[in-house]
């Protein structure tokens, strides 16, 4: 039972309630870094990593906030922790694994203002997930973000090769494409029975 519940949480975060295509979280990087496949992959990995670490830390912090009875400080504390964490990961990566830093480094600063990270942390609190559920939910959400971003990037790479009406070049075309992608993800709706 426990295992299957975790799996359901993971799957629904990844496909059914896809963060980008159905919850509308993390749209900025979704539109911003989806022009090339390799940047999209780098961003995806960075997001999965930060999401998981940030969720675990914010989970513990939330317990502390509840203990101290100051729930109204949640937003401030969470966003500061996420910002600090991203900085910290950046420094750490630089020291420990320069090659990984090379690959992810430039995306890290962008992640602070990625609403998917803060959104995930707040969602975890709202759904009152346990630590284990939080971890599965975060990995699922990150994977869902990665899937959406990578599919979208491959589509956009091809779109550049085709003729398009002038007004649809850039943002407008990207949004319509995202709409079609979101429509196809609605097919996952019946996948998980809650």
């Amino acid at each position: 039972m426990e295992m299957s519940r975790l799996f359901v949480i993971f799957l629904s975060a990844m496909l059914v309630n896809n963060f980008v295509l159905s919850r509308f979280l993390g749209i900025c990087p979704f539109l911003g870094v989806s022009r090339k496949l390799d940047t999209a992959t780098g961003m995806s990995l960075a997001v999965i990593f930060v999401m998981t670490v940030a969720s675990v830390i914010t989970w513990f912090l939330n317990q502390l906030l509840l203990l101290m009875d100051i729930p109204f400080m949640r937003t401030i504390v969470f966003i500061l922790v996420i910002a600090t964490l991203v900085q910290f990961i950046e420094i750490l990566l630089k020291k420990v694994s320069p090659s990984l830093y090379e690959a992810l480094g430039i995306y890290l600063p962008l992640i602070t203002t990625n609403c998917a990270i803060l959104g995930l942390a707040i969602l975890n609190v709202q759904q009152e997930y346990t630590l284990m559920e939080t971890i599965f939910h975060s990995i699922g959400a990150g994977a869902g973000f990665a899937i959406a971003l990578i599919i979208f990037a491959t589509i956009r790479e091809r779109m550049d090769l085709y003729e398009m009406p002038e007004s649809f070049k850039g943002l407008a075309g990207a949004l319509v494409t995202a709409g079609l992608l979101s429509m196809s993800f609605m097919g996952f709706q019946g996948l998980v029975r809650l």
Binding site: M1, F72, I76, Q189, L194
Partner: protein, 243 residues
């Protein structure tokens, strides 16, 4: 080093000022927030305390609670259940929760009304409902429901749950229907009917809730309500009030 200390101190000062300002506002809005939530609950309780057939209050109007004090008097503590973090009952088989406290009202004719608040998972978030079960002469009937939280459901589909004509599809249900477990028509494998009598009989006796025609085929939100209701029924039977 000194520089680091200075920047750290400035940031700390800003956070402290912010925290102080926020705690002031928190104190200020605490009461309106509690009041808004209480009013919503009281309104919902008033709604489910209406008779399903006549829409008249099932008990004396001035006995129906109108503030938190008079509501507290009807709190019911079933034996063997301990409320934990505001939840009195969860089940391994049905997703959702029954909230604490649970209310019990005595009827003039020896009957009892149990008013429960509970939730289950909808499309975008939790769907919370208030329901009333009337137990009288060894019979039980689901008398009414009110949906208090459906904000994350899709407008035009799941959010239709807030319309009276949709809510009315969920009650009344008799013991046989409740025991069979409520389900939507799609899951029961029957096709929607325009014959009101047949639809009502299916619901009362077999627990088949027809919503597909009024919710444009959306089932997730309807299922959330149904899960919550099934859970509430399970709670009542485990509490031993349905003999």
């Amino acid at each position: 080093m000194l520089e680091y200390l200075k920047t750290g101190l400035v940031l700390m000062a800003i956070t402290l000022v912010a925290g102080f300002a926020l705690s002031l506002i928190y104190e200020l809005v605490k009461e309106p927030i509690a009041e808004a939530e209480l009013q919503e609950k009281l309104q919902a309780i008033r709604t489910v305390l209406k008779d399903y057939a006549t829409s008249e209050p099932i008990m004396n109007e001035d006995k129906i609670p109108s503030d938190s004090e008079s509501l507290d008097r009807f709190t019911w503590d079933p034996e063997g259940f301990v409320a934990e973090a505001g939840v009195i009952y969860t089940s391994p088989s049905i997703r959702g929760a029954v909230y604490s406290p649970v209310y019990r009202f005595e009827l003039p004719d020896n009957g009892q009304v149990f008013v429960l608040v509970g939730e289950s998972q909808g499309y975008g978030g939790p769907v919370s409902i208030v329901s009333s079960f009337i137990v009288r002469d060894g019979e039980v009937i689901l008398n009414g429901i009110e949906v208090i939280e459906y904000a994350q459901e899709t407008p035009g589909l799941g959010a239709n749950i807030s319309y009276d004509e949709v809510k009315e599809r969920f009650y009344p249900v008799e013991r046989s229907g409740l025991q069979a477990g409520l389900k939507v028509d799609k899951d029961a494998g029957v096709s929607p009917t325009t014959d009101t009598e047949l639809m009502n009989r299916r619901r009362r006796e077999e627990g088949i809730i027809q919503t597909s025609d009024v919710m444009t085929g959306a089932t997730i939100t309807a299922n959330a309500v149904i899960n919550a209701l099934n859970l509430m029924y399970e709670f009542l039977s485990e509490a031993g009030v349905l003999q």
